[in-house]
Assembly symmetry: C2
Homo-oligomer: 306 residues x 2
């Protein structure tokens, strides 16, 4: 059994490779819900949706999120009413949020709802939210405290970042099945997702990091940073704003207590020694995943780390 | 000042005529909310929306409800999740329900929300919900107790009807401004809407019927029944199922305590004497409103009843 911890776009790319490399029913995914937002009374889980849409071929390939060929008729009307225009709710995507919110209001758990939505869309691996609680990520910036989505989407990650907080997270519990999945996994893959806002929230759920530390399985992290730059998203800017050296080593260091292997990009070969000095085995490869073949090749390499 | 009590499609037709006959800012409408439904966590107010869409030229002219040229992408996805397919939620229409629900959840009153939505869409007369409480209409039928929309839309009004109940209505109050509007109106028009499920719920709000009885203005009702048939909708079937004679007189009788004038279709001239015997003045005319000119002509006639 393979367990993967994943955020949105970057994580979903490797998941797509894993799903081609091994039977999908052997894959469990713990998805980040720290980027969840409540908007217009709807509970929106961007990372869970990106994973589901990507693995079921429903994703918009141009953006990496949202639904392929979606329309925005509802949003256009909402904006006329005075609603927010910055969060791009497509008409098809909206169905996911409406259905989720409706089931949650009826008392169905987020785990159950996530499974039901994923199942309806044809996802055949197991997708678990990290927690069933609402633990939104807020960022302190030079423009004040913002919800993560306001920072990422509305402000295009431009404000200078001072601090990241996962609201409510100390009081929350891992979703049912999460700890067991960590305990039972032969290989645990930390996807090349943002360490602060994708993997960070998962690690901050009480019990998850310690379960990873106890894990008998091999824990392999794939770098989201190549040559000091993030493949996509604000990971590099966040490292910089938060005062970390702008290298893949900083990510390896954030995970050093619980990972066994770090998959480093071959362009960063010069960092190998300093990461090995953290007691971590290093695998060097091309970690860029442009094509489906790239994703599958990287997935195979991760699996061969065992 | 003109006050109109209205349900959905039939009522909106006459309202359209009124809005052409006199300055729109002299018109106040009390809209039925007895047909409201909570679906997928959304508060849907079909009659308020039909009035707003019709008067702002946004309505789908083929159905008389919903938005012109609307699409159904969200609904198609909801149905795949297992959601109900019988209530036709268009993508644009959905924005109205989402915005309303979101404002209500934030504590905005239904009166305020209705005004805001109507204003955004360009409605220039005053539209008041009959009450701010949720007082859904339920019908007892040979297929059990159904929400009015289940009966009307899902079951196409086919089940035999035994009884109509307006849930919660005894405990509710008229929305702010409703009683004042009745007290101040020079003419009060009871639109040609269904007497049981459109006008009936309005009349059952505590205080409204007695305010109509006290009213100094002229109260004019327009028949929704011509030659024993409803122009649209199940009014005739309801009269029959509930044991009323299948004529316009039955409607006049339901309103006889508070109306001064009944506008009867000229095809029903034979009913004139029995309606006059109820102490009601009768105006005979062609009450069918196929064209905009028909609507305006009928509106002028109603206004000339003074």
């Amino acid at each position: 059994m393979i367990l993967a911890l994943a955020g949105g776009i970057g994580g979903a790319k490797l998941l797509l490779g894993l799903a081609r490399a091994i039977p999908v029913d052997e894959i469990t995914i713990i998805g980040n819900t720290g980027d969840d937002i409540e908007l217009l009374g709807l509970r929106i889980c961007p990372d869970l949706d990106t994973i589901t849409y990507t693995l079921t071929g429903k994703v918009n390939p141009e953006t990496g999120w949202g639904v392929l060929a979606d329309t925005f008729s509802c949003l256009d009307c909402l904006v006329k009413f005075g609603g927010p225009s910055w969060f791009k709710l497509g008409d098809q995507d909206l169905a996911t949020h409406l259905w989720r919110t409706s089931l949650l209001r009826q008392g169905t758990s987020l785990t159950e709802v996530t499974q039901q939505i994923a199942g309806s869309l044809g996802l055949r691996c197991r997708l678990l939210p990290m927690t069933e609680s609402y633990t939104p990520t807020f960022v302190s910036t030079n423009q004040g405290v913002l919800h993560l989505q306001e920072y990422l989407v509305r402000e295009q990650a431009r404000p200078r970042l001072y601090e990241i907080r996962h609201q409510n997270v100390e009081q929350c519990s891992p979703a049912p099945g999460v700890i067991e999945a960590i305990e039972q996994a032969e290989t645990i893959v930390i996807c090349p997702s943002n360490p602060f806002i994708s993997i960070g929230p998962i690690l901050s759920v009480p019990g998850i990091r310690s379960a990873l530390l106890r894990s008998q399985g091999l824990v392999v992290a794939v770098t989201p940073i190549i040559k000091g730059r993030a493949v996509k998203g604000p990971a590099a800017k966040m490292l910089q704003d938060l005062g970390f050296p702008l290298t893949a080593t900083s990510v390896a260091r954030l995970y050093s207590d619980f990972i066994d292997v770090f998959v480093l990009d071959e362009q960063d070969a010069n960092l190998r020694a300093e990461i090995e000095a953290l007691g971590i085995r290093v695998l060097l490869t091309n970690t860029l995943m442009n094509t489906l073949a790239d994703k599958e090749r990287l997935a195979h390499l991760v699996l061969q780390a065992i």
